[in-house]
Amino acid sequence: MTGNASEPIFKDEQLLAYLDGEADPDVAAQIEASAADKRRAGELAGLQSRLISRLYRATCPDSEILGEFHLGLLPDQQARAIEAHLRDCSPCVHELAQLRDFLDEGGPGIFN
């Protein structure tokens, strides 16, 4: 394989794995030797970065809503929506556990 072709050698799925550090070492070496593949990998990195920039935690409830959920302050319908969200969102599950631990540490009471 050459490093001067105008078209990438590897498929996007391989370049995506390369970006994640998951590519086979031989494949990674070939990508790094290919200007077209490096350019394409860079485009994919940019696209993913922009999508994450816009979408990261976009569907998650605000943290105070998680807190009000834990405190039992939400209306039933909103609480059910949070429960449904928690089934699919491990970061929110983790944050809710943090909230619970923080609020309940040392037992009930405000001196904690």
Binding site: K11, D12, E13, Q14, L16, A17, L19, D20, E22, K38, R39, A41, G42, E43, L44, A45, G46, L47, Q48, S49, R50, L51, I52, S53, R54, L55, Y56, R57, A58, T59, C60, D62, S63, E64, L66, G67, E68, H70, L71, L73, D88, C89, S90, P91, E95, Q98, L99, F102, L103, E105, G106, G107, P108, G109, I110, F111, N112
Partner: protein
């Protein structure tokens, strides 16, 4: 006129198990420290009795300065883990929230700032973040001020409940900061090669993404996916910021292997890039022609 409370014996304490509030025979219950029985920092519900009870209307008719003085006195007792009357401070909170009384709120800020600062220090996540304690103290008060409406305040039965909400606000602002700090870390990990790239023309990935509301954008993109597998990859990759291996670990029953996830991701990205509907939406949203 409030008469200093005196302790009732253990039998009375038994009456006060459960939620604080006014119980039988005019007993008023709220959490006070029992340093002889509990480790430092622990509270238990105990009872104090008053020869004369203050009614809500008594408290609500008191001058702000009078409430401040009593709140300060009772707070000293509170911090010394002595029996105390929390209703003056509770009334200040009620007045601040219901009347949007900034002078009452400012007093409460000064009064409880040390307590809130202690909570911040006790939060494990705080110690891995890059902000000073005072930053989170101030954000916590701001969040509480912005979050509690008079209607919501009616859900709080006593000072303990109000302060528990304030403590929740401490956790909340720390979580907010941790969320914000996590985002650029994920972006930077993907941008390693981006600086080497010379883009030749604006296309979907250039997109003016920052001008589009995140949730609206999410719903537009979600409309382009065709099955649950794609949804998992889209949601896991870009909403949760997971790599394909992590998506596989989260949903092992839905994929054969990690290569399948990379294939789905490749197809998804290609579809997003060529979606005329998405391009048209973005063009109309921004007024630009792509």
């Amino acid at each position: 006129m409030l008469i200093d409370p005196f302790w009732i014996g253990g039998a009375a304490n038994d009456l006060c198990l459960g939620a604080p509030g006014i119980h039988a025979r005019g007993l008023l219950c709220w959490p006070v420290a029992e340093s002889r029985q509990l480790a430092p920092g622990k509270l238990a519900s105990s009872c104090l009795a008053y020869g004369t009870m203050n009614t809500d209307s008594d408290l609500q008719s008191r001058h702000l300065n009078d409430l401040r003085q009593h709140c300060a006195e009772q707070s000293v007792r509170f911090f010394q883990r002595q029996d105390h009357d929390p209703r003056f401070c509770f009334e200040l909170f009620r007045r601040a929230i219901n009347n949007r009384a900034e002078d009452a709120w400012e007093y409460l800020y000064q009064q409880y700032k040390p307590l809130v600062a202690g909570w911040v220090e006790n939060n494990a996540t705080f110690h891995v973040l890059d902000e000073e304690r005072e930053f989170f103290v101030n954000r916590a008060f701001e969040k509480m001020w912005g979050s509690i409406s008079p209607e919501k305040f009616t859900r709080f039965s006593d000072l303990d409940a109000v302060l528990r909400y304030l403590k929740m606000c401490v956790a909340s602002v720390i979580i907010d900061h941790a969320r914000a700090q996590a985002r650029p870390q994920i972006e930077n990990s993907l941008d390693a090669l981006d600086g080497e790239v010379q883009r030749d023309s604006p296309d979907l990935e250039e997109l003016v993404l920052d001008r589009v509301g995140s949730q609206e954008f999410w719903h537009r993109i979600r409309a382009l996916i065709s099955n649950k597998t794609e949804y998992r990859v889209l949601y896991g990759s870009f909403v949760l910021g997971l790599k394909p291996q992590e998506v596989l670990e989260n949903y092992p029953e839905e994929f054969n292997d990690v290569r399948e996830i990379y294939r789905v991701k490749e197809n998804l990205l290609a579809r997003l890039r060529r979606s005329q509907e998405l391009i048209a939406y973005l063009a109309s949203y921004t007024g630009e022609t792509l």
